[in-house]
């Protein structure tokens, strides 16, 4: 074989705190694109595969099919039943993680150089020839149902699903991707096969590889692993209309500590105001002791162990979320403080000192994320899914540093919206009652 891979780009990205991350774009002979970082010093590799769409591709009335399908990929493939597949995987000391989310199905694999071909053969079988045996389906269904029943009694999960129901209306995001007891109980083997066809297709595949492998080796490996998957899958659902118009919803649940989720409209990563918003949120409520919410709710008043806000851009919606948990007799005060801080930031913005501190933190913390083969593989796949350029890592901190006070003031005034900040509280909160949206 004389021409096995194309190297489109090879560039060296210098980071303040990472020697260098040399990302190469590799296109396999069969046309599969991957981003690769060679790291030959330890004899293993991490491989991250993602299929866009994830559980949002569940067919009408088949909620939970993608999640159950993904859970079954490691439960028997080709001539191996579930136990034979597990024994083979353990015998190679490979690990294959199969995960579902609203936006993707992800496969996180790790295997040794010494038995890489065998590991790839196994993973290929799992992706291309899953058996979906009825006994495995029923067994894993039992595990999923156990989890769903537990979620129904978990205040955090109740808060999350209630909030999503309010925010996303009829969109798939509005319901939990695990499905309901009824929907999962009704899933047939045919539904699982259909979900496999819908999601695991090459037109939505993204690949990141980091470790002891060369581009010449990676190309053919990807063709073996993924080349036989169908070309196209199900069509993507539409963009979600986020309906967050203020108000507060109390869900009565008998537990000592109330759990609250709050949120408002967010921002896309393509938006020029994305980095100003990240910095504004850093000051307002991102993790760390310096954020205003942590200072006001936790440090000064001792009302909670954790209070956060964060931008949660998804493929099909943008949302600015937060959470807090306080004893039933203190949650009302915590929410008052959060509302006041939201109002204050919207009206007065932040100070120049706060902006500078946020920039130092956000730029300094960025390189710390690149701390191992698997994390780097995940970051690279995320970049591809967002459509970011291959040199993004090198330019990202410059974009953060370029944010001005004017940018921040604009975002604070235009995006932060205390009237639209919507709360869901689960527990027996004292002094709180449901309020309608505006």
């Amino acid at each position: 074989m004389k021409w096995i891979a194309t190297f489109l780009t090879a560039l060296v990205v210098a980071l303040p705190a990472r020697a260098e991350i040399k990302i190469q774009e590799v296109v396999s002979p069969g046309g599969i694109t991957a981003w690769l970082v060679e790291e030959p010093s330890i004899p293993f590799m991490a491989l991250e595969l993602r299929f866009r769409g994830g559980a949002s591709l569940d067919a009408e009335g088949k909620r939970g099919a993608t999640n159950l399908m993904t859970g079954l990929l490691e439960e028997g493939a080709a001539d191996m039943d579930a136990r034979a597949f597990a024994r083979a995987t353990e015998g190679l000391a490979a690990s294959f993680g199969f995960d579902t989310s609203d936006d993707e199905v992800s496969i996180s694999a790790r295997f040794l150089t010494e038995n890489r071909d065998q590991a790839v053969t196994l993973l290929r079988a799992a992706l291309n020839e899953p058996r979906f045996d009825q006994d495995a389906l029923d067994r894993v269904r039992g595990q999923v149902l156990s989890g769903i029943r537990s979620d129904l009694n978990d205040p955090n999960e109740i808060a999350r699903t209630t909030f999503d129901g309010i925010a996303y209306g009829n969109h798939p995001y509005a319901t939990d991707y695990s499905g309901t007891v009824d929907s999962v109980t009704a899933l047939s083997r045919e539904d699982i096969i259909a979900a496999h066809q819908a999601v695991l297709a090459r037109d939505r595949l993204y690949v990141g590889a980091v470790g002891d492998i060369t581009p010449e080796e990676l190309g053919p490996m990807l063709d073996t692993l993924l080349g036989d998957l169908p070309e196209t899958g199900a069509s993507m659902p539409p963009q979600a209309d986020v309906a967050l118009n203020g108000g507060l919803t109390v869900v009565e649940f008998d537990t000592p500590q109330s759990v609250a989720i709050f949120g408002q409209r967010g921002i896309t990563i393509e938006d020029p105001d994305y980095f100003p918003t990240i910095l504004l949120n850093q000051v307002l409520g991102a993790g760390g002791f310096e954020s205003r919410l942590t200072q006001e709710v936790r440090v000064k008043r001792g009302l909670t162990y954790g209070v956060y806000s964060y931008l949660a851009p998804r493929d099909l919606a943008e949302i600015w979320l937060g959470s807090v948990a306080s004893a039933n007799n203190r949650i009302a005060e915590a929410i008052d403080v959060i509302r006041a801080e939201w109002e204050k930031a919207a009206t007065d913005g932040i100070t120049e000192e706060e902006l500078d501190a946020a920039k130092t933190y956000v730029t300094g913390a960025y390189p710390l994320r690149f701390d191992g083969n698997a994390p780097i593989a995940k970051i690279m796949v995320g970049m591809q899914m967002l459509g970011l350029p291959i040199d993004y890592i090198a330019t990202r901190n410059d974009k953060v540093n370029a944010v001005t006070m004017e940018d921040i003031d604009r975002v604070a005034a235009e995006l932060l919206n205390p009237e639209a900040l919507t709360f869901v509280v689960v527990g027996k909160p004292e002094g709180l009652e449901s309020l309608p949206a505006n």
């Binding site: 067994r139 002791f289 008043r301 300094g364």
Partner: protein, 447 residues
């Protein structure tokens, strides 16, 4: 496939709920003149460093009546010192693009920062400062006590599995501090005050009771001179108390706990057996118990999973755990989550039958071989995560093991034979030293 949120022992608590390997380990270790141990693990692939200080003081070292004070103090170490304002340490770490946190367990409390490696000295300067120089106010005590109470609400009071685990531990130990939850009992946490905190601090927070662990892109000689400059100048406590805890009497009565809570959706049966831990120069039994946990409940091909999930289809999930890194006697735990419709009585009977049958069947050689392969691979994989290597050393030294014990551990695991595993099983499965627990709804809903 699904990870069940089952909590047997919340073995570690963190200050903040943020965010959220051995043959070729480059490990250097030495002791400063004042008695502070130092371990350095080098990985020069990225210019990042993790700086940790571990204290040989955890919740099991607390005085009676002051449960939770070790963890409370951990929170308060982020307040003012003689040289820093309240919150300044974390703010400085953040301003340098780093992250910091801390955690408390039964046997230790540890503080750490992750930051660009050229900021190591600044981290040492601040960490050394709070070893002896905290300056707390009554308002710190009041507000932070609210925080730890909310932490207990979040972790424990809102979670029937955690409440159940707490009851199991309380019954497992008659006379040892492991019977008390790390976070403390609520009624005692509510009374913790300045004296409790300062007594604990002034008893335990000294260099001769601490371990410095630095991992990442560092030069050991440079770390040594920085450590001597910042930590080496802190006087040792010549009166540091010996670490002697109240010992367990012989356990000769099987115990049962039934915990009912309306929030339980998935009932389960658990059993914990008192078990020996890793001791300096004497880790063979712990190694065998570690392998036993893998053989019995360590994944899809484990013995309990084979029998209870695949063959009998009585369980949705089962597992076995052993935590050998402990200063005093630890536990070996098994757990079974029944399929709907199976009572906990039937579940327990099935679990007992399987354990009994295991004593007859023994260990399958091919299973042991797969486990050893995974052990060997984990040493390769761990080299990609220098901080996890560093954590292993810090934890081991904090529970009285030596650097040599840590280095010997992988080989001891590899040397475990089928006979060793069965001998360990025969020793540990002693019902007289066990607690069997049922977690269930107030009304039996699994009929």
């Amino acid at each position: 496939m699904r990870q069940f949120r089952v909590l047997l022992n919340a073995a570690v608590l963190c200050l903040a709920p943020l965010v959220a390997q051995a043959d070729e380990e480059a490990v250097t270790s030495f002791t400063l003149e004042n008695g502070m141990d130092v371990v350095i693990v080098e990985d020069n692939r990225a210019p990042v460093v993790q700086h940790m200080v571990w204290y040989r003081a955890g919740s099991a070292d607390e005085p009676k009546g002051a449960s939770g004070v070790a963890h409370f103090l951990e929170h308060l170490l982020f307040k003012a010192t003689e040289n820093m304002e309240s919150g300044e340490l974390s703010a400085t770490v953040a301003a340098n693009g780093g992250r910091d946190n801390a955690f408390t367990s039964y046997d230790y409390t540890a503080y750490f920062q992750r930051v660009a490696s050229d900021r190591l000295e600044l981290m040492m300067q601040m960490e050394a400062d709070r070893m002896r120089n905290i300056r707390l106010t009554e308002s710190d005590i009041t507000s932070e006590r609210g925080v730890i109470i909310e932490e207990r609400n979040q972790r424990t009071e809102n979670n029937p599995r955690a409440l159940f685990g707490e009851q199991l531990n309380a019954v497992q130990y008659h006379n040892h501090g492991y019977s008390v939850p790390i976070i403390g009992w609520m009624h005692e946490m509510q009374t913790l005050g300045m004296d409790d905190v300062m007594d604990f601090y002034n008893t335990h927070y000294y260099p001769n009771n601490a371990i410095l662990v630095v991992s990442g892109d560092v030069d050991p000689e440079e770390v040594r001179s920085l450590a001597e400059k910042h930590y080496g100048t802190i006087p040792a406590n010549p009166d540091l108390p010996d670490r002697v805890r109240t010992a367990e009497p012989p356990q000769n009565a099987e115990r049962r706990v039934v915990f009912r809570d309306a929030r339980v959706a998935q009932p389960y049966v658990s059993r914990s057996y008192l078990a020996p831990e890793r001791d300096p120069g004497d880790q063979e039994m712990a190694a065998a118990l570690t392998i036993l946990a893998e053989v019995l409940g360590g994944g899809q091909t484990s013995y309990m999973t084979e029998k209870l999930q695949f063959e009998q289809q009585k369980a949705v999930w089962s597992g076995a755990y052993y935590r050998g890194a402990s200063l005093d006697d630890t536990t070996f735990d098994v757990i079974v989550l029944p399929r709907p419709g199976l009572s906990l009585e039937e579940t327990e009977a099935a679990m007992d039958d399987v354990l009994e049958q295991f004593m007859v069947d023994g260990v399958q050689p091919d299973q042991l071989e797969r486990i050893k392969m995974q052990l060997r691979a984990s040493q390769i994989y761990e080299r990609d995560d220098v901080n996890s290597i560093a954590n292993r050393y810090g934890q081991a030294l904090a529970i009285g093991l030596t650097v040599e014990d840590v280095k010997a551990w992988p080989d001891l695991l590899k040397a475990v034979t089928e006979e060793d595993v069965m001998e360990a099983a025969g020793l540990v499965f002693n019902r007289d030293a066990s607690v069997t627990g049922w977690l269930m709804q107030p009304e039996e809903v699994t009929q």
